[in-house]
Amino acid sequence: MRIWLALLGLTGVSFLLAEQLAVRTVAIVAIFLIAALKAEFVIEHYMEARAAERHWLVMYFAWVTAVTLLLVWGHTA
């Protein structure tokens, strides 16, 4: 329940930041970092990646990092 509430809260925050933040680069970085944090919450708590074989957690988190960097770079470069 706590994780679910955190995920919904972070979604609301990213929506507000996208609307309110005046500095484009800061807003882009913020909304994609929040997306990454939410993805890690889902992978860790719902997919229970920590209980799986160790390399899956590393690879899934590496994917989240790679996607976040790609999207931030693609929207700010």
Binding site: T11, A18, V42, M47, V67, L70, L71
Partner: protein, 199 residues
């Protein structure tokens, strides 16, 4: 004497969530979507004005509703798996019903969105942005509907197979894929819907 308890690497372990195969399958799908995102970004940089003006034709609120529905459905699915492990069959069934209902909310929301676009004459051929919009959200939509078929099967078989380890593994696998579909959307939502709000 052969040791029958020997566990082959990569085989199903009762202690790990899901089977080794589903973790591999999900990762391959992750890599495929990473490539789609990469090509999207590449085209976005080539045609920034078209992408920005087209994004303004999407409703961030529609994206927000989809996000809330999928996040909540994912939570319900996690609850279903947890309840099954604790042998709370009725609770698992109830959680699965919620997961399915919220998945249906996502599908209906998306169909209305597609209907609105087609109603305004917007198709995958309209421009580069909408090609990616329909391709990425369409593939994601197929993932959602496909997983919901497996979820429905699990719901139907719950009363019959709930006690079996094979059923638990099946539900865990479907759950893992459902959470992956959620994770994908967590990036598609800001990429297509939120960045248009940024000044």
């Amino acid at each position: 004497m052969p040791n029958n308890s020997h566990h082959h690497p990569g085989a199903t372990s009762p202690d790990h969530p899901g089977t080794s195969g589903i973790w591999t399958f999900v990762f391959i799908d992750m890599v495929i979507f990473f490539l789609f995102f990469g090509v999207y970004i590449s085209e976005r940089q080539r045609l920034p004005d078209i992408f920005l003006s087209s994004q303004h034709q999407l409703s961030p609120l529609v994206g927000l509703v989809s996000t809330m529905a999928l996040l909540t459905s994912s939570w319900a699915m996690a609850e279903a798996v947890r309840a099954l492990r604790e042998n709370k069959i009725a609770r698992a069934g109830c959680a699965l019903n919620w997961a399915l209902a919220l998945g249906a909310v996502f599908i209906v929301n998306k169909l209305f969105e597609y209907g609105g676009k087609f109603g305004h004459g917007i198709t995958p051929l309209t421009n580069g942005f909408f090609t990616f919009y329909f391709l990425i959200t369409g593939l994601h939509f197929l993932h959602v509907t496909g997983t919901m078929i497996f979820m429905t099967h699990c719901r139907v078989r719950l009363g019959v197979e709930a006690g079996a380890l094979t059923y638990r593994k099946k539900l865990e696998n479907v759950g893992l894929f459902w959470h992956f579909v959620d994770v994908l959307w967590l990036f598609i939502f800001p990429m297509l819907y939120l960045t248009e709000l940024v000044g």
